[in-house]
C-alpha cells in the first residue's frame, strides 16, 4: 500500500514538473517580433560556447547596441569585439554582466556608456526582465537580480519564470511555439541593425532639473567596474554616445561629474555629442528622430571609435590569424547580408507606402 502511494506521488510529481517546465518554455516571451532587444543578453553565450574571445567589450544601454558594429570594427581594423548591451541597462546590470563576461574572457578594453549613470534606483520591471532573464545562472545573475528588483518583484519569479509569465496563456501565438527551444537571432555580436530613417526634427532640450547630482550608487558601481578592470589589467573607457534628445538629455552638469571622476582615477572619457569628426548627419543617421543611431550612423560611429582604439590603446589587427579571420569574415558577411536584406525590406515598405 505504502509503496503504491509513493510510486503514485513520485510519478504524478514528475508529470507535473514536466508539464510546468514545458509551460514555462511556451509562456516565456520570445521577443521575436516585438521588443526584440529582450534576446540580446542571452546571445552572448553563443560566443562563449563557440569559444570566441574579444579584444573589446561594450556594456551599457541602447546607446551601445545601436551605436557600435563589431562586424565593421573587424572589417576596418581587424578588431574583435562584443556589445553586451540591453534596453535601459542600469549600471549595476552593466557591472554584473561585465563581471560575468570576465569569467569567460579577458579583453584589452572595456567600454561603458555613461547615460545610465543618471539612474540610482531600480526603474522598470519590463526592462529588468529583458536584461536579467537572458543571463545564465551564476553569482553575477543573483547579484544583478537583487540589485535590480523593483518593489513589486520577487526573486522567486526569476527562478520560476512561470510565476511571472503565466498570464500570457491567453495571448500565445505561433511564435511562442516556434521559438520554444531556441530563440531567433536578433543581433550581430550584440549590434542590432536598424535601417530606417527618421530625421531628428525637434530642437527641444532637456528640462531644468531639480538636482543635477548623479546618484552616489552609480558611482559606487562605477568604482566596482573600475576596480574589476584594474585587477585584470583591462583598460576601462567611458563614453557618451552622440545621441542627445530631450528625453535622454545629457546635461553639462552631469558631464562635469563624469569628467571629474575620470580625471580623479586616470580614466579616459569621450563625450561624442557634438563631435563633428564622426560625421553624423542627424537628417539621415537616426531611425527614430535622434534617440538612437541607425545603421548608417552606427557605422560612422564605429569607424571613428576604431581609429581611436588603434591610436590610443594600440589594439592590433588580428586579420593575420587565420582561425580568427575565418570566424570573423563569416560574421562580417552575415552582417552584410542581413543589413542588405533589411534595407531592401525597408525600401519596399517605404515604396509600398507611397
Amino acid at each position: 500500500m505504502i509503496k503504491k502511494r509513493i510510486i503514485c506521488a513520485v510519478s504524478v510529481l514528475l508529470v507535473l514538473a514536466a508539464l510546468l517546465w514545458s509551460a514555462t518554455l511556451v509562456l516565456e516571451p520570445k521577443y521575436a517580433s516585438q521588443s526584440r532587444e529582450g534576446n540580446l543578453v542571452a546571445e552572448y553565450y553563443g560566443e562563449v560556447d563557440a569559444g570566441n574571445t574579444h579584444q573589446v567589450l561594450f556594456v551599457g544601454d541602447c546607446e551601445v547596441y545601436e551605436s557600435f558594429v563589431p562586424a565593421v570594427l573587424w572589417e576596418k581594423y581587424g578588431i574583435t569585439s562584443y556589445v553586451r548591451g540591453s534596453a535601459q541597462q542600469l549600471i549595476w546590470q552593466s557591472y554584473y554582466l561585465l563581471e560575468e563576461m570576465l569569467k569567460y574572457e579577458t579583453p584589452e578594453v572595456v567600454v561603458f556608456n555613461v547615460l545610465s549613470m543618471k539612474y540610482g534606483d531600480p526603474q522598470n520591471e519590463a526592462y529588468n526582465r529583458m536584461t536579467l532573464d537572458g543571463m545564465r545562472w551564476s553569482k553575477s545573475k543573483i547579484g544583478a537580480i537583487n540589485a535590480s528588483m523593483t518593489d513589486e518583484e520577487t526573486f522567486a519569479s526569476y527562478i520560476f519564470t512561470l510565476l511571472r509569465y503565466h498570464s500570457r496563456w491567453s495571448e500565445l501565438s505561433g511564435e511562442d511555439f516556434k521559438y520554444m527551444l531556441s530563440r531567433p537571432q536578433v543581433a550581430y555580436n550584440g549590434y542590432m541593425i536598424q535601417t530606417g530613417i527618421k530625421p531628428m526634427e525637434s530642437e527641444r532640450e532637456g528640462d531644468e532639473l531639480f538636482d543635477y547630482t548623479l546618484p552616489s550608487v552609480s558611482f559606487d558601481y562605477l568604482d566596482k567596474m573600475r576596480e574589476l578592470c584594474a585587477e585584470k589589467g583591462i583598460e576601462l573607457v567611458l563614453i557618451k554616445s552622440p545621441t542627445n534628445t530631450w528625453k535622454y538629455w545629457w546635461y553639462d552638469e552631469w558631464d562635469k561629474q563624469i569628467c571629474d571622476y575620470a580625471e580623479q582615477y586616470g580614466l579616459d572619457y569621450y563625450n561624442f555629442i557634438d563631435n563633428e569628426e564622426i560625421g553624423i548627419d542627424w537628417s539621415t543617421d537616426t531611425y527614430d528622430g535622434g534617440v538612437h543611431l541607425n545603421v548608417f550612423g552606427a557605422e560612422k560611429m564605429t569607424d571613428h571609435f576604431g581609429k581611436l582604439l588603434v591610436k590610443q590603446y594600440g589594439l592590433e589587427s588580428l586579420k593575420n590569424d587565420p582561425d580568427i579571420a575565418k570566424v570573423w569574415d563569416k560574421k562580417l558577411s552575415e552582417y552584410k547580408t542581413a543589413k542588405q536584406d533589411m534595407m531592401e525590406v525597408s525600401v519596399k515598405a517605404s515604396s509600398s507606402r507611397q
Binding site: G38, Q88, Y127, F210, T245, V291
Partner: protein, 160 residues
Amino acid sequence: MKKILIFALVALMSMSLFCACDGPQIDGKLKYSFFTGETEIFPGDEAAVILAALGEPKAYDESPSCAFEGLDKVYTYSGFEIQTYTEGGKDYIYMIVLTNDLVKTPEGISIGASKSAVIEKYGDQYTSVGDNLQYEAENCTLQFIFRDGKVSSIKYTAKV
C-alpha cells in the same frame, strides 16, 4: 427601556443619512494640481480629456522608449508644457512644467517668484537641493527650481 433603545436606533439610522454623504473615509490627502482656464489638471490623470479641453498645443514633440512601442509626448502651450506617458494603451499626465510668468500655480506662485514667497505659500515641509525646493503630495511631487534667487522653473511630476 427598550423604547429608548429603539429610539436610539432610529436616531442612529437617520444620522446615517447625512453621514453617508461623504462616507467614513474622508479624503484628507494632500494633492497638488494645476489650473488653466476652466481645466484642473492632476498629474497622473488620464490625458485624453485634459488634452481635448486644452485645445491645439503650440508645439508637439515625441520620443520613443528604448525597446517598447509607447511614446513619451510633450505638448507645449503658452506658459506651460504637459508631458504624458503611455500605460496599458492609454496616455497619462506625467509632468506639468510651467515655463513663463503668464501662468501661476493655484497657490499663486509663478516663474520669477522669490524663495520666501514659495515657502510662504507652500510651507516648510520641503526638501531642498541648493536653492531648489521640492514638496511631496499624494499624487505628485512639486519642484521649484531657482536661478539667481528667482524661480526659473516649476515642475509637477506624477508618482508612477
